[in-house]
Symmetry: C2
């Protein structure tokens, strides 16, 4: 009997576990400290009323024999898939078939599990900085190689972002079979324009590579940017898109997401849509009925209005944070099409030192940029998902601290 | 770019998809036929009131800022984990720590995903007949080898059950690193006694093998059989146990399960508990808050009483099916500690021929034994999850058909 030894390569704790640990330790020695958390990207607004109404009604369905629902369809109820198709794609001019949409319990599950359907010997390319789960799941499956002294994995192709390019990654110089892209970006909060994204789509088609496109934050787009990669010509032959209700409709605690795999997307004649269908039918049993009714309600007239109000609430927080940071002399990115604000930390500090400094001095918790990869060193992420008063208060504390 | 070519080895449709297809085709040409489905193991009773009350209350929590819950803890809320530990283990004399319990969205997910933490070069042993997901997930990950002419996979070690042994598998004669066991068994409905299971535990410890123990049907046990493998001495160093609320509390549409990995379970010094914790934290984001409150309510005084009533309802159906089949001259197994009744089909027919015969003649849908493996050929599974009147009606039709 042998375990999967690739798991042993991951030495450090998962970024957010480490943050949690540091905050707990601080609290233990400073129980009076009024900590404001702008670290983890978790929502705080209650679910919109249209959604909770639908959930109550779904619970009632489950309490009588005639309307009870057992195993859900493996890829999502038609009532939900149809709404996704209509409102998230058809309304933007993207034509999808319903069986190109796979409903799941979360984008984190899907971006991790997608590795099941691709060979372990593919070369994977990731942006730097990046959401750590993309890398960790590839380490676990053996695609990442070994961790080098510079903090990079030997087999991964890194696309380093920098201040100069406003953290927009450049096309890989080496061959890469798979590229993870996330726009609006986590952690930098930066969006991508259609012409910029078209370059990636063209590159992928030319190189027979596949783009794993994480669009979990598309609902925060306020400028003229693509919400779906399928708004770009040629994307259906090279891209898989991940979507989530977590940040859009406040579903981090409700758990619903979906993944698009167009039927045109084939690899040596093999349909990835079919492989994923098989994967999900075999290793997943569908999403809770109550959750799917909740997700459906997000698309009703009331649901759309109420979700928009929540997004506006967070975007207002983002503006407050961004403006405050700029006033305090920080250079910032994001916060316009995204709930994330990325800032440059003072030259004298590392990302983690800045984390400790903020926690110690003003009890504000953010996320160290280096947790997102080597190119994130010297940067820091704040999120707009907090309570409005607390967010204002945190910004005031930052301004006071750095005004001194 | 290469896909995972192991997926291509699976030729046939998933068993239950095939059944669904045949039923749809029958309906299309016989729209007047009154079909009774005793095929898929899906529950039909509404959720107990204690559970729907808890769900309504949890939905209310999600609708105000002060009680709103975002990302759930990756391994389950304490309120649920503590109840699981108290009622499912401590009450039976099994001492577990809370962090040996991992709450998830389903036992199918867990029995599939568990493959992530074990090396692909382990030898896997499966009972025959068996729940097909155990095999399919190993085919996908490359542990099964190639499909042979006899319907078996080249690298799997099969433990064939038979009438003679009442389908209790015998210990493997070849080396096996991993053995899947499921008791009460799906599909045969047979339980295992403590002395019988102790042999497996001892064998696993002697051979440094691991037992993947699926106890999804433990709530149906009426005789003196172990509910958990950890009731057996030595099981904590060799067994992982999968549990589900699906059949216990009628949660097939609610989605909640849990997996036990004791900390004593190590492989060459590596803790599988830690690997699974890492796997779940990276590729899973926890179970819906509303679902976890529903699962918690299953353990309240009212919840336990109401769940017991539902189980009794299904067990009564099982008795009716079993007695009816016996009266009609069939040899049967199971149905006493299980919602499944396994029967021997007439010598002149294969399992699928019997399926077609029942569908055509009396519109009763069951599951062909051969769908569970080569040793299932000549047998058939009926489930007790139907409506009581329909179950009675199906049994009457069977008795009439075979009395002729």
């Amino acid at each position: 009997m042998r375990s999967n030894e690739n798991f042993l390569k991951i030495q450090s704790s998962y970024l957010f576990s480490m943050i949690g640990k540091k905050v707990r330790e601080y609290k233990a020695t400073n129980p009076q400290g009024d900590i404001i958390r702008l670290g983890i990207g978790d929502v705080t607004r209650p679910l919109p009323e249209a959604i909770t109404q639908a959930m109550h009604s779904a619970v009632d369905d489950m309490s009588s024999e005639s309307s009870f629902r057992g195993y859900p369809p493996e890829y999502g109820y038609d009532f939900l898939v149809e709404k996704i198709n209509r409102y998230d794609f058809a309304a933007r001019g993207v034509k999808l078939e319903n069986d190109e949409i796979f409903v799941s319990d979360g984008a984190k599950s899907d971006t991790g599990n997608i590795g099941d359907i691709i060979s372990v010997d593919n070369t994977v390319s990731v942006c730097d900085p990046i959401f750590p789960v993309y890398i960790d799941t590839n380490v676990m499956s053996g695609r990442a190689g070994v961790l080098l002294g510079n903090g990079k994995w030997s087999k991964l192709v890194y696309l380093a972002g920098s201040e100069k390019t406003d953290f927009l990654p450049e096309l890989p110089k080496e061959h890469a079979d798979i590229v993870y892209l996330c726009f609006p970006n986590n952690p930098t909060g930066m969006g991508i324009t259609k012409p910029q994204l078209q370059k990636w789509v063209d590159w992928a088609n030319e190189n027979k590579s596949i783009i794993l496109y994480d669009a979990a934050y598309e609902a925060f787009i306020t400028e003229d940017l693509p919400h779906s990669i399928y708004e770009l010509e040629g994307a259906k032959t090279c891209a898989i898109e991940f979507r989530s209700f977590s940040k859009t409709a406040g579903f981090t605690g409700v758990r619903c997401a979906y993944t698009i795999i167009p039927k045109q997307l084939t690899v040596n004649g093999v349909s990835l849509n079919k492989l994923w269908a098989r994967r999900q039918a075999t290793k997943f049993n569908g999403v809770s009925y109550v959750t799917q009714r909740a997700a459906e309600a997000r698309y009703s007239d009331e649901g759309r209005k109420q979700v928009e109000q929540t997004i506006d609430f967070y975007l207002n927080n983002a503006r407050i944070i961004k403006n405050g940071l700029n006033e305090a002399g920080f250079k910032t990115w994001g916060g316009v099409n995204s709930p994330y604000i990325w800032l440059k930390v003072p030259e004298t500090m590392t990302s983690w030192e800045f984390f400790d400094y903020l926690l110690e001095k003003i009890q504000v918790v953010g996320t160290p940029g280096s947790g997102f990869g080597p190119a994130g060193e010297g940067f820091f992420r704040l999120t707009a998902f907090g309570n409005a008063d607390k967010t204002l208060e945190a910004v005031e504390r930052i301004k006071n601290l750095f005004a001194k």
